[in-house]
Symmetry: D3
């Protein structure tokens, strides 16, 4: 019954309903936050791979430990920023427009986990690609043209 | 092409693939964390509604401000705990078994936002119901019987 | 003088006094939170011990660093959750009923620190045992039967 | 090959000692993070001013409290993001190029505090202006053209 | 040379088993941290009481909400700092020397909760008194004379 | 009575406009917070250097990883505490009195980053020296004599 109501609500074109369920009182969303964190993940991954894992100097041990830890933290941040978009910005009408929205975000979130678990430059690049895709979807729903760039 | 590969992977029953993408190195997941936070949201909502909003004593102003703030924090925690399950525990094979998995979690996450935005006892109860449903799904995937209870 | 007042207050059986000093406005306490964190500590300890400490591949270095860090974080969380119970839930009348309450929690908190300092599976198990004991005490004060289980 | 490049880089005495003291191991800086937070501050300020402060309905009390709290948090975040740029990205050679660098950031940080202390739309706009100026300085030091935009 | 000293230290069986269970690897403890937070609680309490609770100007609503929130945060910080001392610094031999150690800290922690729950200048002062007492105990165990002062 | 005092204070036009821009509503500042964190950094640095980097026992790997991580965290905390002083406590009139204020804090903040990046006992000592200098400046602006001490 509730499911039915939900379906009916989704069919009725309503500009009001959308914002009615909005959690983001500030209404400021920007996939740039996720992109910056994902760039940091990619950067840290490269820096880890540039270290000699057999070098046991204090300097290298310190760097290795820090880079892994910053990679972890930034991957977590990227995931958090993405999930804010998925849970707060996107509404049922967007889902109709982009039917693979759920899978796109699930995939992106799982990539955030994968780049923690592994030291994998390819997956870090893939994450940035998915975020670029989400950037496209996001600004399309706002009818705005915002060019995607990387800080590095 | 990648999409195709993903689809094919999802169709091939594979026990290995599942754990291969696992982010949760500890493997300890328990919907009880989300449940405890949601109970706190419900409790705070009731306590807010039990305060007299026209009472301007320091005691009441202090309580009102704290209760709203704790409600916010606990709703956020409930959402975070739920999204850990969705992004890290659940795998493509679970999605086949529970095809409305994405919608269930999207709905639950949006309820977490709704109980922040509003002072709404009904929605706080609804959130607990959804978490009970997720509790059922979760333990079903583990072939375990764990009874759902409330701390309060 | 104040000390005397405190003593006198402790002697007078009063159901009201208890909740009067309660800090937890939500009133939702559940030792399950500490148990989940302690299970994660045990799991990470096992995973660390399953890694080859002489393997200097990026994958193993990454896992070793992450597991130690997650163990640290979860041990800290277990301690925090336990101390919430000790400082906010338990009241002077409970102390009369369970005279070794302070020592039990001090011991539990020190175990949380020990499992950070060491990679010690035995102590991680011991921590879970102490939490099970606290679970028993906690629900006894509420006259409720809640069975203890582990998620893993 | 990459390993070799790294080694060679380490052997070449570099005049650019500046990066040698760099704390940002990822090297990913982008004033967009501060801008997004400052936009949220402006948005929350407007939303607070759009509420009726004499309305004592639960809904309005809840919104008022949340908006003030989110304004606080976002102003803090904007400040943190700005100070990362000042302490980690900018180096003595930049200071020569932009002699009022310290004052610009001090002013910006103090504006972040001012928009917490007050409900002041003008100052929130002023903060965004300062961040736009910092955006200009930042990208100038990198010889890149990145256009400034607002998400809202 | 230092390396040698370390090795020698490790070989000498130490009677001081106490430090063996130490969680604080840095060994830096100072009750000043708790004192600073408690001073902030007292200050915020006074500032709340200096506001007119019937003034519904945006400025006063903003201040009231912030002061309550900062009081909460600082009381929480004071509690955390105190519990670090109790769980990590103090050892069984200290307990013999100061048999009311547990009660002193339990009382202090409960005061931290009380100053959150209430807007109570007397209790905030009492908290500072207890921290001064703990300061005395702490430095006594180190055979050092450190004078207690307040920043405000 | 207090209410009256407050009212009187509000009526007297104050020359001390400085505090009017103060963000720290509690007004409690104490460089001791930064000093304690910097002492922890120094301690962790020494402890890292006392470990044998070629020892691949679980105990040493665990300690190495933890010490680096705690050093990172405490260096970050020291920086944060310093920047609170710079952005919130110090006002333009202090800058006139201490013209190298900006450079002192910039230097101190960069040292906080340096002790993260490196395992450098000399720089950790240097950081404590700068904090002692800031301690001197701070209490001078308050016309108070507070002696600098170290907890360790």
């Amino acid at each position: 019954m509730k499911h039915l109501t939900t379906k009916i609500k989704q069919l009725i074109p309503s500009r009001n309903l959308v914002s009615a369920h909005c959690d983001g009182p500030c209404g400021i969303y920007d996939p740039a936050s996720a992109r910056i964190a994902a760039e940091a993940v990619l950067s840290m991954t490269k820096k880890i791979l540039a270290l000699d894992p057999n070098d046991t100097s204090y300097a290298t041990l310190n760097s290795m430990s820090r880079y892994i830890s910053i990679k972890e933290e930034q991957a977590h941040l990227a995931k958090t920023e993405l999930l804010v978009l998925w849970t707060d910005y996107f509404k049922p009408n967007h889902l109709e427009q982009f039917p693979d929205l759920h899978d796109t975000f699930w995939n992106a979130a799982k990539l955030c986990s994968a780049v923690k678990v592994e030291v994998n430059q390819e997956k870090a690049e893939e994450l940035l690609k998915v975020i670029e895709k989400i950037h496209g979807i996001f600004w399309a729903t706002k009818d705005r043209q915002v060019s995607f760039y990387r800080a590095s």
